[in-house]
């Protein structure tokens, strides 16, 4: 049962990693968006420290949107997706595997990079750990929600822009709680409540979102 899914996971990860420019594009995009904040707001350390959680989370959400463009599109165009829909595993599990592979190849680098960027905006010590933890919990939720949008806009005119319109409103809760966790880490209260909520969202999204994605893929494949 798990064997074909494991193969699919390895195939998707290696396909993405082999095209290095795909990973690099998303990573560089993430860095550039964060660079924009000091340039636009000004270099005062206090201001930058205050906006750092929000800035990094906004950059992560935008990077997630631009990376999701290709999640199903390539496989859909060359017919692989149709073959995947025919294998014995439920389509929802296939979708979950593809999303996991996508996150491992494109989301994880951002999580690993985030402490460096957080440091550049003036976050320190425990705040950096919280930042990475919040992204590690929150970005998979973004990928799961975004996959719904990516599947719904398969084969649609101007799909990329439309996808952003569809999924960015759904990103709001993750953005609020995620950047809230880092902001709380700056105060005495501590981020555990926020991180728990992010975990709850992930626990909710893992079983539910793949069902919606599978439904959307069936519509696209009809």
């Amino acid at each position: 049962m798990g064997r074909s899914l494991w193969t699919l996971l390895r195939r998707d990860v290696s396909l993405t990693v082999m095209r290095r420019q795909d990973v690099l594009t998303v990573v560089v995009f993430f860095i550039i968006v964060i660079t924009f904040f000091p340039l636009a707001v000004g270099p005062e350390p206090e201001t930058l420290r205050a906006i750092a959680p929000g800035a990094i989370w906004v950059a992560a959400a935008l990077a997630s949107v631009i990376s999701l463009d290709r999640l199903f599109a390539d496989d859909w165009r060359d017919g692989t997706l149709e073959q995947l829909a025919l294998i014995q595993q439920p389509l929802a599990l296939v979708a979950l595997t593809k999303i996991a592979a996508h996150w491992l190849a494109l989301g994880l680098p951002l999580v690993l990079l985030s402490p460096v960027l957080g440091y550049s905006l003036g976050l320190q010590g425990f705040e950096l750990v919280t930042l990475a933890a919040s992204l590690a919990l929150g970005m998979p939720v973004l990928s799961l929600l975004g996959a719904c949008g990516a599947a719904l806009t398969l084969g649609v005119r101007a799909g990329g822009a439309l996808m952003a319109l569809l999924i960015l409103p759904l990103y709001v809760p993750v953005l609020i709680i995620g950047s809230g966790a880092v902001a709380e880490a700056m105060h005495e209260a501590g981020p555990s409540a926020h991180l728990s909520l992010l975990g709850a969202m992930l626990a909710l999204a893992v079983p539910l979102a793949p069902l919606a994605v599978a439904g959307a893929l069936r519509i696209a494949l009809d």
Binding site: V156, L162, L166, P169, A212
Partner: protein, 274 residues
């Protein structure tokens, strides 16, 4: 019970739906107009000025009903979307699609009147208040639904995709609402609370109810009309559309000579047969 169910399912056939709306719509329009006039009169002339806000509170009589309507219409749209996804009843998709523009309009009106109300009472047109923010996100959800439905060339496919989106949105609406509410309490210092005078004069309440009724009837009328138009368009080559058009045509020109009234009928039905 079974009898009722059969009667309701009857209107899932576009032809029966069309006939039903033909009979209902004038009453809905008339009811909306009467209630709106009565509600506005009560709101502007009968209800007393608020002891804190003076006369500026009167925009509430439009603001509150439109805000309610916006949320309710999204819920209703999601219900029709589920019906369409599960039972593939074409009328359900037509209804969901017809609800979306009215829902977006109501949400926009609620935001707009809220801004106009905020200017005299809070001293600013916009604050990042929890309710304002979540209403704005609701507007984006409506726009996303409309955009996705319109972007897919195949109506059947577009309807299913958009219905799924409405369903995903409906699951997310409570999560969005609570997260925004929570965010708001965290940032309490930044905004002003929306608390109003605890008690309301009876005439204010009457005006609010009348205006809510007017909004309901208006939304129902305009949605059903839009659905009717869409049903005509989608079924344009079927027999009942030809007959409906003929009937309308006959009603429009009652005084015309018999020969002229017959001529276009024959032409249309010939096209329909071929």
């Amino acid at each position: 019970m079974t009898y009722r169910r059969i009667r309701w399912l009857k209107f899932t056939a576009p032809a029966n739906f069309y006939a039903l709306v033909q009979r209902l719509a004038p009453w809905l329009w008339a009811g909306a107009a009467v209630l709106a006039v009565a509600g506005l009169y009560t709101g502007f002339f009968v209800a007393p000025p608020d002891y804190q806000q003076g006369n500026s509170y009167r925009i509430m009589f439009i603001h509150v009903p439109t805000a309610w309507m916006g949320m309710f219409l999204y819920l209703l749209m999601a219900v029709y979307a589920v019906i369409y996804l599960v039972w593939r009843i074409k009328m359900a998709d037509i209804m969901a699609r017809s609800l979306a523009p009215t829902g977006a309009l109501m949400t926009l009106l609620a935001l707009w009147t809220g801004a106009l109300w905020g200017a005299p009472t809070w001293g600013t047109f916009w604050v990042w208040d929890a309710r304002l923010t979540s209403t704005l996100i609701l507007l984006f959800l409506f726009l996303g639904y409309i955009a996705l439905h319109a972007a897919v060339d195949d109506r059947e496919k577009g309807g299913r995709a958009a219905s799924l989106l409405a369903l995903i949105g409906a699951v997310n609406v409570p999560i969005i609402y609570f997260s925004v509410e929570w965010w708001h309490t965290l940032h309490q210092g930044m905004s002003i609370t929306l608390t109003q005078a605890p008690t309301m004069a009876p005439s204010m309440f009457t005006a609010l109810l009348l205006m809510t009724g007017a909004c309901w009837l208006y939304s129902a009328a305009v949605t059903l009309r839009r659905a009717q138009a869409e049903a005509l368009e989608r079924e344009s080559d079927s027999q009942w559309v030809t007959e409906a058009v003929q009937r309308e045509h006959a009603l429009r020109q009652p005084a015309a000579p018999a020969v002229r009234a017959v001529e276009p009928r024959g032409a249309i039905s010939k096209e329909g047969d071929s």
